[in-house]
Symmetry: C2
Subunit: 188 residues, 2 copies
Amino acid sequence: MNLPNALAYSHVLLQDCIYPGATVVDATVGNGHDTLFLAQLVGPTGSVIGFDIQAAALARTQTQLTLTGQTDRVTLHHTGHQHVADYLTADTVVAAAIFNLGYLPGGDKATITHAETTLAAVQALLPHLPRGGRLVLVVYTGHPGGQAEATAVRDFCVHLPQKSYQVLQYGFINQVHQPPYLLAIEKR
Amino acid sequence: MNLPNALAYSHVLLQDCIYPGATVVDATVGNGHDTLFLAQLVGPTGSVIGFDIQAAALARTQTQLTLTGQTDRVTLHHTGHQHVADYLTADTVVAAAIFNLGYLPGGDKATITHAETTLAAVQALLPHLPRGGRLVLVVYTGHPGGQAEATAVRDFCVHLPQKSYQVLQYGFINQVHQPPYLLAIEKR
């Protein structure tokens, strides 16, 4: 088995902390790849709450969920992830959340995630993580605006208090075409 | 299970690519922690080749190997790891190698690893890695000289050709007392 890339390792980290019946958040539904993975991990008694601002992406994901019989455990919201708090109660425990930053592959490359809204969502989600819960971000720097967002997100993570969180950075460092890297915030 | 730190993750990465009967290198024997771990992984038919410039460290490790009945599969050399090529034949396949940089905990803090000798050893070992073989470095920056070595080693890794190797960097980024991070070079 070769060293997994950032995207593959995000699934390893999610798998480790998500249990049947858990509530989890897919902050960037996109093509639904993560959504379906999360739906399998939480099982029929769990709950996946997904966000995306692109209606076509949500429609495609909804189709996949229907085909795989997993619609009951997934709620997709056609709105930005910065509004995630509106869909949680104060005591909702979110076992894990995943962000796939940048633009949607195959979609409009001008529609990208931005530091301000990404960090608003991260800050809204952190209080909901249980001990051992993880917020995972796959960070892209190769597109216009990507480096600025990456810098702001990493800077936020570097300053998270180590008594409450540990933040892992994982990524390949010798590739010419800036591959994504992973940031994982774990609640202690 | 919490996110493993760099030291713990180095063992995960070694475990994944070392098989019974393999030949492996412990470039910095030190307290023998890695040596014993490697000896278990290669088993009675394998071979661990260890290096350290501190005789006391080697003696302690030898005692541990005797107590655990693993002396036959381990050869310890009282010399610097930059001489590793002298102890390999041209066709020796080295499934994995581990470097724990910096100074020996509990030892003389003035005796540290240096970029020049570390990189000489890394360059001598790379041609011996099989496809999927890994050279793992645990890198410390908090001691005098540590940052200079880390910068040189990371710079070397960043420039390794991606067609032949992939290099992973793994570490926590929000800790005040510069924890070690991990660099793993995998032959493709």
